[in-house]
């Protein structure tokens, strides 16, 4: 037997693996920051840091939106579509109907939740995989949005919206980042300490076993989709505030990769049952850093997709390698 023959349950071992994964992710992000700031003096400028934090917040919330569904073992390809529906709905309420900003935002978030509920309802009712249902609903939602809005951007929103997007706390921090952090803490508490969060994870880890031990699996799936829709709407509204307009080109398929990248790179399992809120944050940080770094270094957006794809591949390969190594380690004595 090995000399470090401590009793470690598989779960605990996995958690240790997860923690070291997040640590190495943190190291990679920091290393990239060092490289980019040496290569380009503009990277650490207060404006770039502000812009970076702002887009980080959007990426984080997009990742959360996917993460909550991944937790229950499903996936949501409609994150971007729900996002853009919330964007255009919020924009219409403010510009065309003249509703006050907070009410419009609240209603837009409500719409996100409702569209998410529709996804969850359809999945639970038909028993068809979440992939197919959300692929179809993504097109249904985007299509309906385009039909109703005729793809016309709404750029006469109340000035407070854009002003909120430009707001800076202490010169560099965007309030978006605070919102993302608050959402992250809330999700952490949800998964760690609440019954509902436990239900989500149990339903994702093994739906049959969960159902037999009295977990309302179907309700957990539907609730996770509602939550996902709400988060997608929040991400969409952040983009509205950043751009100062409601654009029909926001979200859609452009959010597909970032929504999976953050959580998966951060250690959330695609098969469900394991989430890492902090990891998703870091994963989104990696995405945002690479995007901003390439931009600052003048490589431009064209190669971005290649880098993001390779990062995702690299992350899953490393994770796989680690899992295999842990499996091969001799078992501690019982």
């Amino acid at each position: 037997m090995t000399d470090d023959a401590v009793r470690i349950s598989p779960l605990r071992r996995f958690r240790l693996g997860g923690a070291s994964a997040q640590l190495s992710l943190l190291v990679i992000v920091v290393a990239l920051w060092v490289v980019f700031s040496i290569k380009s003096s503009g990277f650490l400028s207060s404006f770039n840091l502000f812009a970076l934090g702002r887009s980080l917040a959007v990426d984080v919330v997009i990742g959360f939106s996917q993460m909550v569904v991944l937790a229950t073992g499903g996936m949501n390809l409609a994150v971007g579509s729900i996002g853009v529906c919330a964007v255009m709905f919020g924009g219409t309420l403010m510009q065309t109907m003249g509703l006050p900003v907070p009410i419009a935002f609240a209603l837009a978030i409500l719409l996100g939740g409702a569209l998410g509920w529709l996804n969850g309802f359809a999945i639970v009712r038909t028993g068809v995989s979440s992939f197919v249902i959300t692929l179809a609903s993504a097109n249904l939602y985007s299509g309906a949005m385009l039909i109703l809005t005729r793809a016309v951007p709404l750029n006469q929103l109340p000035p407070e919206v854009g002003a909120f997007g430009r707001l800076r706390i202490a010169g560099i921090v965007s309030p978006f980042l605070v919102i993302a952090a608050v959402l992250g803490v809330a999700l952490f508490v949800l998964y760690r300490y609440s019954v509902l969060g436990r239900y989500f994870l149990a339903a994702g880890a093994n739906p049959r076993a969960a159902a037999m031990s009295g977990v309302p699996v179907q309700r957990a799936v539907v609730t996770s989709h509602i939550l996902s829709g709400v988060l997608a709407a929040v991400a969409g509204l952040m983009v509205v505030a950043r751009v100062g307009a409601a654009m029909p080109a926001v979200g859609g398929e452009d959010w597909l990769l970032p929504s999976f990248l953050g959580p998966v790179v951060g250690g959330t399992l695609l098969s469900g049952g394991v989430v890492s809120v902090f990891g998703s944050f870091l994963g989104a940080g990696l995405v945002t850093t690479i995007r901003s770094g390439l931009l600052v270094m003048g490589i431009g957006n064209f190669w971005l997709q290649l880098f993001l794809g390779l990062v995702l591949l690299g992350a899953v390969l490393i994770e796989r390698y680690r899992a295999v190594r842990i499996e091969r380690r001799p078992f501690p004595p019982r």
């Binding site: 038909t126 299509g143 398929e253 695609l270």
Partner: protein
């Protein structure tokens, strides 16, 4: 069981009926619909769609999914265009090279999926992004416009309402049917899709079949890309950008089981035809083109709902 019942139980009977009814309605709505030219245009645009759908169908058959069909198609399209415009390859050689690149891309997907044991969804999501990145990084989103006249002519020519382009998917569909239903590797591929564990116990290598399916998928995506270049008359980097929904919608509507093991080549073909009819109908009826996306989504939902209903009814008997 009456003949009527039996006919209705063939998976694609409903789709064939839908296509016929759709065509009848459209020809009543507009005198332009049944013109030779309109049918030619519709079949030409269905040619690419058919290959895209089959590229996905073969992966679904082995129990995998391939999000990289469109991205690989886009990459092959610009490389094909580049070979013709920059390096002046003969067309036949360029087509061969394009298919080889497609197979290579498919092999990459397959080997990564099998060797790592990671969910094919996430692997192909990553490779799709990488393929698109290479495509846009190389071309800076600028298309290759100078395609050889022979290729462009091939894309335009037709006998009556039958476009030359349609020959490629029809021949490939026949070959695919022969392969999947009459040849040992094809049967094995579907066996792995039906029950990977049982297949492995009877001596089939599931990994090998998954790689094979991805390689075929890559080849089909490449041919689709070549046809798209011929059809458009230029190699656009955006080719493949809108293939994702089509690739899944047609096989699903056509009755291919998402879990694997059960594919319907004729059904998928009719599904592409129905989708082409919808697209064409939107143009003929001068409706907002955004309706196409909406209707496609609704159609997929209706198809899975119907399949579900049928499955429940069968079980209830």
């Amino acid at each position: 069981m009456t003949a009527m019942r039996r006919a209705l139980n063939v998976e694609w009977a409903g789709l064939a009926a839908a296509a016929l009814i759709g065509a009848a309605v459209l020809s009543l709505l507009s005198a332009n619909f049944l013109t030779e030219f309109n049918i030619y245009v519709m079949l030409r645009s269905a040619s690419v769609g058919l290959l895209v759908a089959y590229a996905q169908m073969i992966c679904l058959g082995v129990g995998q999914m391939n999000l990289a069909v469109g991205a690989l198609g886009g990459l092959v399209a610009v490389l094909f265009g580049g070979m013709l415009e920059v390096f002046h390859f003969p067309i036949a050689l360029a087509v061969l090279a394009a298919v080889a690149i497609g197979v290579l891309g498919g092999l990459t997907n397959g080997l990564l999926t099998v060797r790592t044991g990671i969910n094919g969804f996430i692997i192909t999501l990553a490779t799709a992004s990488a393929f698109t990145g290479i495509n846009f990084g190389m071309t800076k989103a600028v298309p290759f416009y100078k395609m050889p006249p022979d290729l462009v002519a091939f894309g335009d020519q037709h006998i009556g309402a039958f476009p030359y382009l349609l020959a490629a998917p029809l021949v490939l569909a026949a070959l695919l049917a022969l392969f999947l239903f009459r040849m040992v590797p094809g049967r094995r591929l579907l066996a792995v899709g039906g029950n990977s564990h049982a297949a492995a116990l009877s001596g089939i290598s599931p990994g090998g079949m998954i790689v094979l399916a991805h390689a075929i998928s890559g080849a089909l995506a490449a041919v689709a890309a070549v046809l798209a270049v011929a059809q458009l008359g230029s190699a656009q980097p955006l080719i493949g950008g809108d293939w994702l929904l089509m690739s899944f919608a047609a096989p699903i509507i056509g009755g291919t089981a998402l879990g694997g093991g059960d594919v319907s080549i004729v059904g998928t073909g009719f599904a592409v035809l129905v989708i082409a009819l919808i697209q064409n109908g939107m143009v003929v009826a001068k409706v907002d083109p955004y309706w196409v996306q909406f209707l496609l989504g609704a159609l997929v939902l209706a198809a899975v709902g119907l399949n579900r209903w049928r499955a429940v009814r069968m079980r209830g008997r």
